[in-house]
């Protein structure tokens, strides 16, 4: 019946012996319906979509209800939203940055603290990474931008910030206007983050993607 190599021999690491095999004990209902077909229908989420026969047949109806009840925990499991713990992912990314030699980012003091020895307790600063993240998010919000990456240079003493934004955009737009919009939005954002200081923004349109099928309807 099956060309599954697993069936050729005992499966190491398998669960309680016979659980899967016993379950394959498919049976034929008195009306001639195979139970496996009803199970497949339930697992595919089609238990409510009954054929004319199923609407009439007490055997099929009873088994569909039975299977639907047994299956509901798995339907719940499939529907349960699962999010990766951010701390876990961040730790792995920090490791990657270290391996890639990208772990240190210039820091920009947020207050005009006196540039004397040591950091005053309670001072705040902003790493270039935070600026990069904000730049990326705000650039991606600009209509027509699909993806954005950024590179940020901070000249700490002068508070001069140089931002390079690389974007991939939707096909069929005025690219000059788009670049200008991105530049303006990014410059505003950076200024709001760091306060007074010179901000230079360069926008690089790196790629043009075919318009999304859903973009036309949106």
């Amino acid at each position: 019946m099956s060309d599954d190599p697993l069936l050729a021999g005992p499966t190491p690491g398998a669960g309680p012996a016979g659980l899967e095999d016993a379950a394959v004990g498919e049976r034929r209902l008195p009306c001639g319906t195979e139970s496996v077909d009803l199970l497949a229908q339930v697992c595919d989420g089609d238990s409510g979509r009954r054929t004319a026969h199923q609407q009439q047949c007490p055997y099929c109806r009873a088994l569909l209800v039975d299977y639907a009840e047994l299956w509901s925990p798995f339907a719940d499991l499939a529907a349960e939203p699962v999010r990766a713990p951010l701390s876990i992912v961040d730790r792995a990314l920090a490791y990657v940055r270290e391996v890639a030699g990208d772990s240190r980012r210039p820091v920009l003091p947020l207050h005009d603290s006196t540039p004397t020895a040591g950091e005053v307790a309670g001072s705040a600063d902003l790493t270039a990474r935070v600026i990069m993240r904000c730049v990326r998010l705000v650039a991606q919000e600009v209509d027509g931008v699909r993806l954005a990456l950024s590179h940020v240079e901070v000249a700490a003493p002068t508070r001069n910030v140089t931002v390079d934004v690389t974007v991939a955009v939707d096909y069929g737009q005025d690219l000059y206007a788009l670049a200008a919009r991105v530049r303006a939005r990014v410059a505003d954002t950076v200024r709001s983050l760091i306060g007074p200081g010179a901000v230079t923004v360069s926008v690089h349109i790196d790629d043009v993607f075919p318009a999304r099928p859903d973009a036309a309807t949106a």
Binding site: D76, A92, V96, M132, L147, L149
Partner: protein
């Protein structure tokens, strides 16, 4: 064979794990980020990971049944993605590559005790990392028994169940990921479904 047709259709219709957006748009975006990441841009890699981290963790959690194991595998996969960037040929879609990576890490973990590299600062080393699944994974009893039933499946059958039933992959996609035929995938999914319902019948 109407039963087979029905299964394929619904398998494709339930492509929940691939998101509402067409895969091609996502694949194009992934491809762009991947190219940037291969060029050494860590930020592009971070964005790529951000797009797929929930998927990585979710599959690991369903495969392993334990949050801690799933967290370990998620970290491993992220690091392995970075070191394997050059090896990714681009002949398959990135999502396929990623699924295969995650599934293989999980299967490794199931088959051989602990083969993972522990990252620095992964928390309290005294913390026990292998308690019974039912003790901590799910609060709700129903989901707990579902998880328990999943654990009773053989790893290969569980893999197909996770990919097809939970992640909404087609038989073809799952077959490519597991390097078996679509018929084998279909057979394993049927066995998973039958096994799980039998387990639930036994326990309720």
């Amino acid at each position: 064979m109407p039963a087979v047709q029905g299964s394929i259709r619904s398998g494709e219709a339930s492509a929940r794990g691939l998101g509402a957006r067409p895969e091609s748009a996502q694949a194009i975006e992934d491809g762009w980020l991947l190219a940037k990441a291969r060029g050494g841009e860590v930020e592009a890699f971070e964005v790529l990971v951000g797009r797929h981290r929930d998927r990585i963790y979710r599959i690991s959690l369903r495969m392993l049944g334990s949050r801690e194991d799933a967290e370990d595998v998620t970290q491993d996969v992220v690091v392995q993605m970075w070191t394997g960037l050059a090896a990714f040929s681009g002949s398959s879609s990135f999502v396929t590559y990623l699924h295969r990576l995650v599934v293989n890490r999980c299967l490794n973990r199931i088959r051989h005790a602990r083969t993972t590299v522990t990252l620095p600062d992964t928390g309290d080393p005294q913390h026990p990392r292998s308690a019974g699944v039912g003790e901590r994974v799910q609060d709700r009893a129903e989901l707990a028994s579902a998880t328990r039933a999943l654990e009773a499946l053989s790893p290969e059958v569980r893999t197909v169940f996770v990919l097809c039933q939970l992640e909404g992959m087609t038989y073809r996609q799952a077959a490519a990921m597991c390097s078996v035929s679509e018929d084998v995938v279909r057979g394993r999914l049927a066995r998973a479904r039958a096994g799980l319902t039998a387990a639930m019948r036994e326990w309720t």
